[in-house]
Symmetry: D2
Subunit: 342 residues, 4 copies
């Protein structure tokens, strides 16, 4: 018997990506789509590429009939989610794709997001949605917080190195290349095609990117003393995909071994042979994450390169993967499509 | 019980697209991959984005063990296919993606391709693979000839107008915009990123594009006297997708009605409400074809705009759709994934 | 002695392009830059790529000191220009880049722009800025109306064919491919990189594109009876450049001869040898316009392909070319830089 | 009286860029163009975007009449240049754009380029073409070696920090983002539009990029002991432009001060206010180089971001800048055009 889901905030890119992935999911059906500003409109008006599908019209959140809904995907803007989730009936499981429930510490949240959290008790219960590392907690969770897409890319590269203690924790440089869809469907000048095509735009530089809060939280659990991470994001002239280039201090071969050990059994994380590097497009529109490790002419210096699709493995695909666990389905259901290349 | 298929010429883009689509197909399995120049190499060397999959290495065509193979997809270069298909055992059904079996008339073939056909008897048997119009013939065919991707786009727009006789047959202008992947993975200067980005390149102008042979053959069947079609192709600064803008003489509303009538029951062909037009990206990486019709300030002048993905509905998706029919499977199996947007 | 100019509305793309072209102009200096919403800001805040230049800060139009200003470039939004130009002192020549003064007939203006013109007397005086055809009028004009970028592309292809009467006037199809910068620096969803990359978007279809008013006005002068032009614009996944594909009925060789005859002595209009076609990028960021003519397998059918850069020859370059004439300078001053390729 | 130059190897991108820049140069004329494989062809066949110019046809190098030639730009492939330059008459000054004369130490050359140098004596005489730092040597040089485009970007960011000794020399991480035109007009699969669009491709990883030889040579001159530089290049989905993100250890404000001190009087090097970062497109198709410095939440950690156009400031623009010095012209002649944006 299929599970019925609601997608709250379906008028954004992560909402459309959820619909796309569910379109071939064997046991999940879209029962409700909400979009407050666009309430009353058919989905085909907001996303014409879904016009051939038989989807419910967008409604306002307060119009949702929760009876018969098993799970809700919250693809709402940051700060909005924490206002909405408390009102979702307890029988409905929630996978949140916003930043609202990623940080468990309320001070940390306030530091990075500039104001107190509106639903702290839920914040404490929420499970961090990095599936491969919180699988069992997610299985039994009622609320899962989707990770930042850039945080996911970085943590997939770094976490095993912390677990295996094979790098220096106090000198990590992350050079991020991120595609424009990561900024969502928002009308900002720097996201115009004319501004970004054939360009690269550094942003949130100087240690100000909010996903650093996730790095601090997740890596501190594994490190003696706070790890020191520098992150410089660059916006790319591309639509989908993230390349996280991690510069770490350690023995390259040991680093590669650590990644292979931790991800040996994983379906979606693919560690390349030592010395090989992945291309951003190699995972396009898929739930796969490719990781490569190379050494350097300098001793104890290694570069770990992680690529994933910010809209799939970085958000909506990850959300479905977690929903599969929460609903007792095969974790890979609906997510095995090969990358779109070229 | 799954059907086992061979992909001949798997080292090109249509080969990779076949693998991608089969990766989520419920009843088709890839048993053999061939690539003469790359024989002996793992598929992950030729297409690293498939590195996480468990695929057979590429072998030479003459090494194929045909026992247990139900169907072969021929993704070989034009002219090569006609040399290979005759040697495929009769028990193996064939879906050819090259241009070799599209034209039934040997003179027409020689006119457009510059030399006599090497397998004329097969050429006569082959069924033209425009699924929605040759469904029954395809079901029982042993050899199906995949259509040209641009021909498919144009014929989806024009064929119903000929069937319903609602346009002038002797004055049709087709303005084609095609993406670079249509040229395949070939090393030609004009296909370099530096040459094509932010450019548009008219090519095969002046009525020389080979797909005109398909228009002549298919439309002549429906027209009294040879239809007169002008086609001007333009290469786009994009990877996937075709926009065929058809300028025809007829009553716009009647033209729209004809398209709705013919495609009313079709899953993959989506006719937009009158006056609405599709965007190329609305069908990206999917097997769907969107069609829009608009009128003009001039009387009896209409513009029909057809969009599809050249690698999916235009070739590999169409090939799977036809294979589904030939193998007695649901025609839509493995092809219902929503378009990738953005 | 250099001429001093004011650029009104310098915060848009045509404003920035004017500054770029003037940066190497031998006899024009930027004296004043206005931008009402951005008044008070340095130009480097609005356009960081001009940060190394020594430019005046943006001011409000009513703050302009007109003494010592020889000419004003009006790069204001449509409808704003007609409100501002009347207040420009008579000693200042004006080159307007908006649509406000292109149509001489007040009814035609109201038909295409939806409301009465606010400065009709000026509208009558204005000279249409298609330099190669109104050179002498422009030399002595006080107000020149820059043409629509798409109208310029189409008229460069069609005007000689009307002058030489070598095509049918009642059956002209124009298929336009236009880049996103033509829409200006405006925050609209369809102009986002994520929406347009790898896509093509038909727009203003069905004979509704406002530049048709310019075609009607300019071609009617040369035709017995109103010419019949169909125009279908398509937005491209590119930043700069226009390709106008003109489908006309006439003898291709005669059409080519007409273009060569009319443009024989022109510096900026380059007619390719018969049968050759231009690529959009061949004129990138330059004031050149390339034109190619090809025949067809159908008799008396020809395709004329015109390419130019919408921001240069289509607007700001054209504006400088006209300003050169109005100021008594060499028409080509500051405009001879070769195209940027690749 | 104008200087006459020969461009050897004019059929590549740097050759075309030289022609573009010279098209508006007040005192340099193109007298000869060579292209061995394309000898006998008009330049308009090789680069149609130059079709409107009156250029000499391409000839073979041994056909060049050197009388009357003042300077030769060698835009030949690596290794070819060292075979050709010795045969250029002594009265002809040479600006080489290849890698052949960048390294002064023959062992270093052999290490990085895999075989002994064919013209060691010339190699010793050659002046490294980083104009702002070797201005006087270049003025009197007969042979100037153009720098690697990526080396230029990195050295503009690092050299002042070494001169002012405000960073640690033994822990420098350079994350390079480079556009496809840097690889030249070469037919390689990974340079196809279909492969690179919407992708990022790490290459020459693990300390194997040849430009490291230039970093070692140039920085060793300023450091006590060999500096330790890690470089990870990434190919971008763009045509022109380089972003070099330099991760260094030092006081950010002191680093910014060092850059402002060294470049205070420079026309082409623009240091942004502390905390601001440049966008790749801000210098497009221009000879300008923009540099930004930001601090980090970690102490003594700074990010220096350098952007330039690989074909202009990175090679052909730099070559003209050096030629201007060698010919006794104003260093900025022909190079002051503002960047092309958008």
């Amino acid at each position: 018997m299929p599970h019925h889901v609601a997608i709250l905030g379906a008028s954004g890119y992560t909402g459309a990506e959820l619909v796309r992935l569910i379109s071939t999911h064997p046991s999940i059906r879209v029962a409700t789509l909400t979009g407050d500003r666009k309430a009353g409109q058919p989905m085909s008006t907001v996303f014409p590429h879904l016009g051939h599908m038989n989807l419910p019209d967008l409604i306002a959140i307060d119009q949702v009939d929760w009876s018969g809904i098993d799970l809700a995907f919250c693809a709402l803007p940051h700060a909005t989610s924490q206002a909405v989730v408390p009102s979702v009936p307890r029988h409905v499981k929630v996978v949140d794709l916003s930043a609202d429930f990623r940080l468990h510490d309320s001070d940390a949240y306030e530091t990075w997001y500039g104001k107190p959290h509106a639903a702290m008790e839920l914040q404490q219960d929420a499970v961090y949605g990095l599936t491969e590392f919180y699988r069992e907690d997610i299985r039994s969770a009622r609320l899962v917080a989707g990770t930042g897409c850039n945080a996911a890319a970085g943590l997939y590269g770094l976490r095993p190195l912390f677990m295996e203690k094979c790098i220096d924790f106090d000198d990590i440089v992350l050079d991020l290349k991120a595609s424009v869809s990561g900024a969502g469907r928002s009308l900002r000048e720097h996201l115009l095609m004319a501004e970004m095509e054939d360009s690269v735009l550094p942003y949130s530089v100087g240690g100000t990117h909010r996903h650093l809060g996730e790095f601090d939280q997740e890596l501190a659990k594994l490190a003696d003393g706070k790890p020191k991470v520098t992150l410089t994001p660059h916006l790319l002239p591309s639509t989908r995909g993230i390349v996280m280039t991690c510069y770490v201090k350690g023995v390259p071969e040991r680093i590669h071994a650590a990644l292979e050990k931790v991800y040996g059994g994983e379906v979606f994380i693919h560690v390349l042979p030592f010395g090989q590097v992945p291309q951003m497009k190699h995972v396009r529109a898929s739930n796969f994450c490719y990781i490569g490790v190379v050494g350097d002419r300098r001793e104890r210096v290694a570069t770990v390169i992680v690529v994933l699709d910010n809209l799939t493995k970085g958000s909506s695909g990850q959300a479905i993967q977690n929903a599969n666990l929460m609903l007792g389905e095969d974790e890979t259901a609906g997510l095995m499509a090969a990358p779109v290349y070229p």
